[in-house]
């Protein structure tokens, strides 16, 4: 990502938020899961840490859109969970802009956490593993090379 390009902290205007909230839940989950699986395919995620994620239930909630996605990791793949039947092991809640800032490596999760823009609940150690695992990923420089786009 071009380092000059910055994502401002924003909140979706109410009408847009309510619109996005009406979209079904699955596109979020699928996009997230596809991205994670793409990283897996490229061997970007460390095996040791992945073992700690086995069968854990994760929930990502986007506060301003009202959307949420749950997923799990099982047998070497991330999988969406459309109708979770239990409380997640780890849950994130934040506005869309905070997630985008995190994904672009523009803000650090601790910063967002200190500033109360990111909420993390559940198994704290699992949260740290996920955070450190994603921090350590060396994303390819050219997004065009993502297998996600080729396949």
């Amino acid at each position: 990502m071009d380092s000059k390009f910055t994502i401002p902290k924003f909140q979706l205007p109410g009408f847009l938020a309510s619109l996005v909230g009406k979209l079904p839940q699955w596109p979020h989950s699928l996009a997230l899961v596809a991205g994670l699986n793409a990283a897996l395919k490229m061997n970007l995620l460390p095996v040791d840490e992945l073992a700690a994620l086995e069968d854990k239930l994760f929930r990502v909630r986007v506060l301003d859109t009202g959307g949420e996605a749950s997923y799990t990791y099982r047998n070497g793949l991330f999988r969406p969970v459309f109708t979770p039947t239990r409380e997640p092991d780890l849950a994130f809640a934040a506005n869309l802009s905070a997630y985008l800032q995190l994904l672009a490596r523009q803000e650090d999760p601790d910063t967002l956490f200190f500033n109360r823009e990111l909420e993390i609940t559940g198994d704290t150690e699992l949260g740290l593993i996920v955070k450190n695992m994603l921090d350590a990923v060396e994303w390819p420089k050219f997004p065009g090379r993502l297998p996600l786009i080729h396949h």
């Binding site: 650090d108 601790d110 200190f114 500033n115 109360r116 150690e125 949260g127």
Partner: protein, 335 residues
């Protein structure tokens, strides 16, 4: 005018190391993926392969690599710490940062050519202690604990030929480096024993209506209202009831920031300025390295026209614990 001090930046992962190198660090410091370093958190730090790659990257761009082996060997496992020292030498790091006297002795005898630094965890606050480490172990640099005033730092520098490194930015420990056992009081594990303060498996963030509660091994440490900034879940930064009043009895959740006194720090001859935060993400490393690089570079031509840019302070305040910063002990009236 003294030369600019080196900017020493933290790297908990390869992307963080590259961020530090690319944004103007003179040196990065890092640790192995085990309890030989004081940031032994799940998923953090370097295995040998990543470390070799990191060293290659840094050296190619003229940046030094310092390796922290800064915890204290645990009974029956001294060999693990010695092996870490040997591995560091084999990897070709520029210096090893050590705290334990036995380990300093081992490193100095076994690898006399290896450059050694005395860790902040070694808790040497006087020039006598530092000169002892120089005489006995040929230590070339000492990292001062964050307990000294600027005048005391100057006094140390005047009385030693060992290079002096001070903390310039980052989260504060309650200033008992190498000696704090608060975390063990709550959960039986401390930075000097397992390499982590308040290990995550004991931490629980509980969302309650209107507030978030932090618990360490069941002990309520703090309760943040919805618009109150949060801090790390350590005992030293908890709010406790003392004589009928509930407040941050030991330390406020806040970060140290020395930008406003950089000219004085340079004038007294500090050799290196360290940024805390190997547990933080590449984004933090980028922001802090870039900002301190700019502040230091603005002093290259002299301090007469130095002024602290509001943008620097805003950037640093944003990434600070509790979203606020302090000069810590450097300008404390009491000692």
């Amino acid at each position: 005018m003294s030369a600019l001090p080196d900017l020493i930046c933290p790297a908990g992962s390869l992307p963080a190391l590259k961020a530090a190198v690319d944004n103007g660090a003179d040196a990065v410091y890092l640790g192995f993926k085990n309890d030989t370093n004081a940031r032994n958190f799940a998923g953090l730090n370097f295995d040998q392969k990543n470390m070799a790659e990191g060293i290659r990257y840094a050296h190619a761009k003229g940046c030094e690599v310092l390796l922290a082996i800064n915890t204290f060997p645990q009974a029956g496992r001294v060999g693990d710490w010695q092996k870490a020292v040997d591995a560091a030498v084999d990897l070709g790091v520029d210096a090893i940062i050590l705290a334990d006297v036995g380990l300093l002795d081992y490193a100095a005898r076994r690898h006399p050519q290896q450059r050694l630094h005395l860790s902040v965890q070694g808790s040497a606050t006087s020039y006598e202690a530092i000169n002892f480490a120089q005489r006995e172990f040929n230590v070339r640099r000492a990292v001062l604990p964050r307990v000294l005033t600027l005048a005391q730092v100057e006094h140390v520098i005047k009385n030693t030929t060992v290079e002096i490194e001070v903390f310039g930015f980052g989260s504060l420990c309650v200033m008992n480096e190498g000696r704090c056992w608060l975390s063990s009081y709550a959960c039986g594990e401390s930075p000097n024993t397992v390499g982590a303060c308040s290990p995550a498996k004991y931490v629980k963030w509980d969302k309650k209506p209107g507030a978030m509660e932090t618990r360490l091994n069941g002990i309520l440490i703090d309760r943040f209202g919805d618009d109150e900034p949060a801090g790390y879940p350590t005992l030293c930064k908890g709010r406790f009831e003392v004589q009928g009043e509930t407040y941050y009895a030991l330390e406020e959740p806040t970060s140290l920031n020395v930008v406003s006194i950089l000219p004085e720090i340079i004038k007294i001859g500090v050799k290196a300025i360290k940024v805390e935060g190997r547990q933080r993400s590449p984004a933090y490393v980028t922001q802090v390295t870039r900002t301190l690089r700019a502040a230091l570079d603005s002093l290259a031509a002299g301090s007469e026209r130095f002024h602290v840019k509001p943008a620097w302070q805003a950037e640093l305040a944003k990434v600070s614990e509790g979203s606020q910063a302090t000069l810590g002990a450097y300008n404390r009236p009491w000692r």
